[in-house]
Symmetry: C2
Subunit: 429 residues, 2 copies
Amino acid sequence: MDNSLIKVASICRHHAQNLATLTSEEKDRAINAIALALESAKAEIIAANGIDCQNAVSAGIPKPLYNRLKLDEAKLNDAIAGVRDVANLSDPVGAIQIHRQLDDNLILKRVTCPLGVLGVIFEARPDAAIQISTLAIKSGNGVILKGGQEAIHSCQAILTAIHTGLAQTNISPEVVQLLTTREETLELLKLDRYVDLIIPRGSNSFVRFVQNNTHIPVLGHAEGICHLYVDKAADVAKAVEIAIDAKTQYPAACNAIETLLVHTDIAAEFLPVIAKALQQRFVELRGDERTCKIIDVGFANDTDWETEYSDLVLSIKVVDSLTDAIAHINYYGSGHTDAIATEDPTTANIFLSQVNSAGVYHNCSTRFADGFRYGFGAEVGISTQKLPPRGPVGLEGLVTYKYQLVGNGQIAATYTGVDAKAFNHQDLD
Amino acid sequence: MDNSLIKVASICRHHAQNLATLTSEEKDRAINAIALALESAKAEIIAANGIDCQNAVSAGIPKPLYNRLKLDEAKLNDAIAGVRDVANLSDPVGAIQIHRQLDDNLILKRVTCPLGVLGVIFEARPDAAIQISTLAIKSGNGVILKGGQEAIHSCQAILTAIHTGLAQTNISPEVVQLLTTREETLELLKLDRYVDLIIPRGSNSFVRFVQNNTHIPVLGHAEGICHLYVDKAADVAKAVEIAIDAKTQYPAACNAIETLLVHTDIAAEFLPVIAKALQQRFVELRGDERTCKIIDVGFANDTDWETEYSDLVLSIKVVDSLTDAIAHINYYGSGHTDAIATEDPTTANIFLSQVNSAGVYHNCSTRFADGFRYGFGAEVGISTQKLPPRGPVGLEGLVTYKYQLVGNGQIAATYTGVDAKAFNHQDLD
């Protein structure tokens, strides 16, 4: 274990402890101080990013990565505006979820509180460092950032500005730490004792690697294999609109659909219409045997059902029943977001109950699966695990809760045995 | 991978899916049918338990294990009464946590729903099979039980009764499955695809083994290293009462204290009083150097601070400040339950904010950390992890949530780009 990294993590943890006791106003003041400091440092940050971009070009970085790395003034302004937006969100810490009298003067509260320290590992995008540091402070957590090697100068310039901002507040700059070497990523994943949550931001394979190499809880998802099931009672016009949007509006998004399931009773009517519409939009279609009998498309094999294309490709399967559609989704899906198009409310309700995904939609596009669209004001990630938090996760995902019990000398013996006093459970406002 | 076990798990999962759509009344009817069937099968269950007990005695089973294994009529009656209590609890499924209009006729709900299938591994206690099966059905989950080998006849007789009860309802008996061989425990831990939550019930080392050998989320805790910090502003009489209760009322419990931290300013006054009181109750005391200068007790070494004695042993340390007490607890504690005795509200609040445990108590015994005492009506386990659910976990820990979005053909493109329609986020009742 890397001792210098343990030192960084324990300093972060130590100073983060103080964050847990601050008021919302103190945290928001610090966030606004960060926004100001970033504004003052714009020239330095853009210059530092210029060095990263030059190095990246020399190293032959792929175009999409370059676009994510590049931080021009407009993108930086957006990120700074995002910082101020976070200050305006409501504080996720201190919410009272349970307030209950167990007996006279023995009061239980379940109160939301910070997790402690977040470990955030991201690829090229330097603006992610700005966003996640702000969300961490808002939620009362320390944060250890590990940015991509290609964004190192940008991240360092951003950290300098964040630290300058924090230095003017009663929050220690040490609550935001930056790691700079590749080896530290693996070490970070081992710090169970110092880091409470890992947030990986990157490719599916990167997220899966993180999930498989740590005992720290991971907030994120590897795959987004989303489905649209077109029921026999679907309104064809609506179903076509939804399918086009869910596949083509942003095919690289995790909430875009990869597979279309079509009830056999509507297949002959629906498939030719949707095929024409999607092919006009340059979508490659791959169908199962029954699909290929109705429309002239390539053949889908078993691998297709478990593939996130993240591209203009769509697999299509004809199913005999709602039950078969649900079984396919629960077997091949990734638990992200799955939709049904139907005008039959009973069918819709069975689908919404029995599909085991974080998002289950009726007559609308899977592309709505997003923290901002849900009205959370921020999105920390999208989780496809079974346990909460799942689906799009807002600031709520960066806090936990604790039980506070306040008494006046009460002991358990009083409530035990033959002369046991009874509890007087009563919820308070 | 054991194919027969995969078959068991997928049958369980398949039938459990139907549970997710049942009403509270249907589930409660099934739970009451189980209670009746268990009553009718009392003689068979007690006879089967007799065989297990005989075998256990022949095998030289330790007395405490034998006591847990033994199921007499009184214990069985209690377990059956417990089944009926579960029917009377409120349904954890179907609670609406978020109900929000995103736009006209585009309605988001976050609704609690079953996890799917629980894997429950327990040692000798056959009554655990009764309790957990009932909790699983109440929460809409299938359950795969793996009881201790020594309880095999008892568990089989109980399962037969549960299946007989369920056969008279619209819930398939297949939702409750029993594994009988030791090898199946390890196999069960590998079934990520079929099992959503593992609940281990047994020794600390058993729970730790389970945690280290599965990628399935585990509900439980290995250690309970709880502390009482006696602040300089403590009321000595209260602190003594609390310390006695927290150490001696049930020393084997996970919420009993293992370490007493005493502020240096009160040590000379407090330590002789508490030492006398605890020694009268046969508690072995082990102190750090400063403690040993005040009272005549054995010496505590570094191992003591990280040991759950589960017995009449208590380690004692003198600390210089609240800060040192908090640092000790956050470093050596297990995140279970930690208490402060003080009459100073500011000191108490800092303790409650900065101690990172699931339970943080002020002026009361740590022994209150319990689902029934908290008024949950049931306790599935106590979790010491950072993320929810933590602390004593009731039925709430057996459900998750999903986002249901219901529209009328809405697509994301409408809300994107230059002519983007604005969302109209509005919380509904």
